[in-house]
């Protein structure tokens, strides 16, 4: 996917508990919690599993797609 699409992923830092549920569930290793802050890279294939697994709903796609 294009790097631009990644900008559409939106992590609500007021909701994120930094638990790593999305990181360990990502099938393509596109999310990192290396320094306790979530980062996405361009491996992302928009499977949206991270959105589903997040216990508090902190990840969404901008524009509500």
């Amino acid at each position: 996917m294009a790097k631009d699409d990644l900008d559409e992923f939106d992590v609500d830092i007021t909701k994120c508990m930094h638990c790593g549920a999305c990181v360990g569930s990502c099938p393509v290793n596109a999310i990192y919690l290396n320094e306790v802050v979530l980062e996405f890279n361009d491996n992302c294939n928009m499977c949206k599993r991270c959105i589903k697994v997040c216990p508090v709903g902190a990840i969404k796609i901008a524009g509500g797609r």
């Binding site: 549920a21 990181v23 320094e35 589903k52 216990p55 709903g57 969404k60």
Partner: protein, 394 residues
Amino acid sequence: MPEYDVVVVGAGPAGSMTAKWAAKGGAKVLMIEKRQEIGSPVRCGEGISRSWLDSVGIKLDAKSVAWQVKGAKIVSPNGTKFTLSEKMAGNEVGLVLDRVFFDKLLARDAVKAGADLQLKVSAVGLLRSGNKVTGVKVRSFGETKDIKCGCVVGADGYESQVGRWADINTSLAPRDITSCFQYRLTNIDIDYDYCEFILGAKAPGGYIWIFPKNQDTANVGLGIQLTKLKDPAEVKKYLDKYIQGDPRLKKGKALEMVSGAVSICAPIDKTVADGVLLVGDSARQIDPITGGGIANSCKAAKIAGEVLAKAVKERNFSEKSLQRYEKGWRDILENGLYRNWMAKEKLVTLSDDTLNKVINTLNEVGVEKMSAFAILKAIEKRHPDLVKDFQEFL
């Protein structure tokens, strides 16, 4: 000459136990932890059995144990309880930990054994020369540096990166992932002598747990299988709904919130590579039925540490050398993990109606021991139809 023989990434129970047993055996060990405090934030229900602690050399101190219980209650969807007393359950139930202290206790044991320990150091990649892993790249307080070593241990938990960097397949299918949320609730009115496991559609494909921390406080949480989730933030909503509907918990206030995910998969194919070894959650060694990982992690970690100490003496961190760990942990854990994964695959399909019948039957026939096998055997005696899908276990 590398600075360290072994660098352990992650200072949870798996990391500290690996570091301790490797250092005890003469290895020069560094353990790094990305967080600013060991044991915090807690990501755990904290209930464990006590039967295995001696075998891995853990001597609990007073602060590490928050509470001791007499047994466990399994609760059916209609609210019927089946009680496993301490006598029936043997050593299988018993302790609710305080992970903030427990994890530090294990880290202290590692340091006492000779391991070096650094906090707020994040692993960000592996160092390689050709195919061989020669160390780990870390970042700490804005600076990046290389640490050379013979073997990198991935004890980096559910979100493990070390395994992925080493091309070890740790990826999980959605049905093998449980999404969890927990409150530490105070001002509640529970039977504090028992850990409770509540089954059924209130926590689809998982369960609700109530693990007492003292007379009026407990870890109240739930896990739901990822395939059973539809909307974002549903896990927290399921828990809030349950708490509101349970008169014992309704007035409770949260002292702490915990979220996380747990693997409930079959054993993965491979946990070692040239110069890399995975242990604990990162090696997917969690019990697929209970979601409990501390006991398995510590058992595997002791073996890992002992194998690493030997590998240091032989100066051989090849995959072949580390196979002794692969074989060692599989000898004690693999069959149980596989059996429980198969059982989990069946359990998640049971309707509330069937679960009610199962708990009723358990109350009628009783169970000698707390194991999936003993429970299925007991049910088979009275109602073979309820366990017909589980024939391969019996």
